[in-house]
């Protein structure tokens, strides 16, 4: 099943299960979503629950929050994550803080599904991965799965969670295929990393779009040089599963961190800092390496765009550099 279908399945199952759940956003209805992530849902759930909106990101996010405060459970299709800039007040100043400011009263169960990353030739205003911003804000959960099954299990968890969740999807991966449990009770825990591959030589921590490439690189270095890579897939960025990361680094003593977002102040920087201040530091036998998107706006030209994001080849090189202590 594709990521796209896993998303549709997750939302549809939750909407069948709970009449308070509904989807809103620009062109989610007859158009089926900018990325086809709600194709067919209008037919099943009708206009009230597959709710087309004006192009008004502020009102969309605000209405979602107000609806969530009063008993509904909205899912917002942000479409391109870049457009979330217009939702920042509602997400950061309102949704994240309201319960706290009110001394623990009220709750805001809302999911913002945002299509992150480049890879489709849409240039600098349609290619950003802005997850780090949201991990900086207490009161938000941030999820970035990298397989169709994790997408399904975590999107369902996000919808059932009673807090605002930023849910990253990757526009380059909507067609990515994988096994997906059909069980409507298949829900994954938020806040748990997943060891996608066990290994003793080196730890690679990643999430989201980069998981696929990391897995491929791990496979390649294993086949070519017998290196055993442990791949820690964070899946949830906030709250971060520090334990799993630290345990793995303690085991291997070497760590590479990979994300597609810009390197500077990207989320893997936080992971690096977390390792460097933890007990795992004492087990490190090499620098904590980062491989991330370049610090440039994403260029339109596809050769350049491709070069701005970690490739399987560069991930492989970095793994070998670590293993060979260069």
């Amino acid at each position: 099943m594709s990521v796209r279908d896993a998303i549709i399945m997750a939302m549809s199952e939750e909407m069948r299960r709970d009449e308070n759940v509904f989807l809103m956003g620009e062109d989610v209805g007859i158009f089926g979503g900018d990325f086809g992530t709600s194709v067919g849902m209008l037919e099943e759930f009708g206009k009230e629950r597959i709710r087309d909106t004006p192009i008004s990101e502020n009102a969309i996010s605000g209405a979602a929050i107000g609806a969530a405060m009063t008993g509904l459970r909205p899912i917002v299709d942000v479409t391109f994550m870049d457009f979330i800039v217009y939702m920042m007040d509602n997400i950061v100043n309102q949704a994240a803080k309201t319960r706290y400011m009110f001394g623990g009263k009220g709750q805001i169960p809302v999911v913002f599904r945002a299509a992150a990353g480049g890879g489709v030739g849409s240039a600098a205003q349609h290619s950003q991965s802005l997850e780090a911003w949201f991990t900086h804000i207490p009161g938000l959960k941030v999820i970035a799965p990298g397989t169709p099954a994790d997408v399904k299990g975590l999107l369902k968890a996000a919808i059932r969670d009673n807090n605002p969740v930023i849910f990253l999807e990757y526009k380059a991966q909507y067609n990515m295929k994988g096994e997906v449990p059909l069980d409507p009770d298949f829900v994954l825990p938020i806040g748990k990393a997943d060891i996608k591959r066990e290994g003793k030589d080196v730890t690679v921590v990643t999430y989201g779009r980069m998981l696929e490439r990391v897995m491929k690189a791990a496979e390649e270095v294993h086949e070519a040089e017998g290196v055993e890579v442990e791949v820690v897939d964070l899946r949830t960025l906030s709250p971060l599963d520090k334990d799993t990361v630290i345990q793995s680094v303690k085991k291997t003593g070497k760590v590479l961190l990979v994300n597609d977002a810009h390197k500077t102040s990207g989320f893997i920087g936080e992971v690096a800092a977390t390792i460097a201040e933890s007990e795992a530091f004492d087990y490190l036998d090499g620098r904590i390496l980062r491989l991330a998107g370049e610090d440039v706006p994403i260029p339109y030209n596809q050769t350049l765009e491709t070069a701005m994001i970690p490739s399987v080849e560069r991930i492989r090189k970095y793994i070998l550099r670590l293993v060979n202590n260069r």
Partner: protein, 331 residues
Amino acid sequence: MAKTSSKKVTDISKEKLLEMHRSMLDIRNFDNKVNRLVKRGVVPGMTHFSIGEEAANVGAVAALEIGSDLITSNHRGHGQSIALGINLNEMMAEIMGKATGTCKGKGGSMHIADLDGGNLGANGIVGGGMGMAIGAALTQKIKKTGKIVVCFFGDGAVNEGTFHETLNMASIWKLPVIFYSINNMYGISTPISSVINIDYNYRRAASYGIPGHFIEDGNDLMAVYNKFEEIVKYVREGNGPVLVESITYRYLGHSTSDPGKYRTKEEVDEWKKKDPILRFEQYLLDNKLVTKKDIEAIEKASEDAVEESVKFALSSPEPTLESAFEDIFAP
């Protein structure tokens, strides 16, 4: 002194009229008290007072089903909270940052909320409550609760993009929400007349195909109340949103520190002649609804309640350090 409009006096019970008067007095006394506490350094932080704007607040809230209908408010939310019947002790404790406060001391003046009482909260962001208001209204419409939402904001907020987006969305979805702009003529130091190119903002209702109402004398409690009764009925009947604007004035500075150079003492004094509380008192007396003595008794009761709230707040414990780490996430 300007008169209170006496239309419909017979429709309203004496009890309700006295409640409204008491509400206005509570706002005035509460805020005067807080102001003194700020000056004495007992209250920290930024506080925005509703003094002078009592009628504009109480008249609107009194037309609602209190305890059932919903409101969102802004940084200047004391008036609305009190009008909606919040527990004054807890509100004062909140403003002093105490553990017994409405928000356990974590929110303060700008974040007073009373979810059970229908108050979805004050807001420190200009326009920050408008999205919530339409979302809350969407819930009422979908769940067919019959409840309506009043979204309070100032004159300055009308130039935020969220004003436009939320009014438009509410209009196309015919949501049960009243957008209520309390026009006190300034956003901090900026006269509203210098930041819009029309006379009054309520006219912008036309952009959304919804009714726009104007309450020229927002210090006339009955004028506010009567207009709101009509509007509340219209909205509750499912006709969609309405934009209302009332004119009033804040006696004090924008916030606790405000040199006030942007307006003259004469202007302030002129407005004090149109005091909403004195006028309503006169109205009650003129209509023989109360005696001077009754008035004094209400005044006394209000002052006592505020004193009581100060005592409660002062004797309340500070929040524990651990509590700072609680309440971020809902279980």
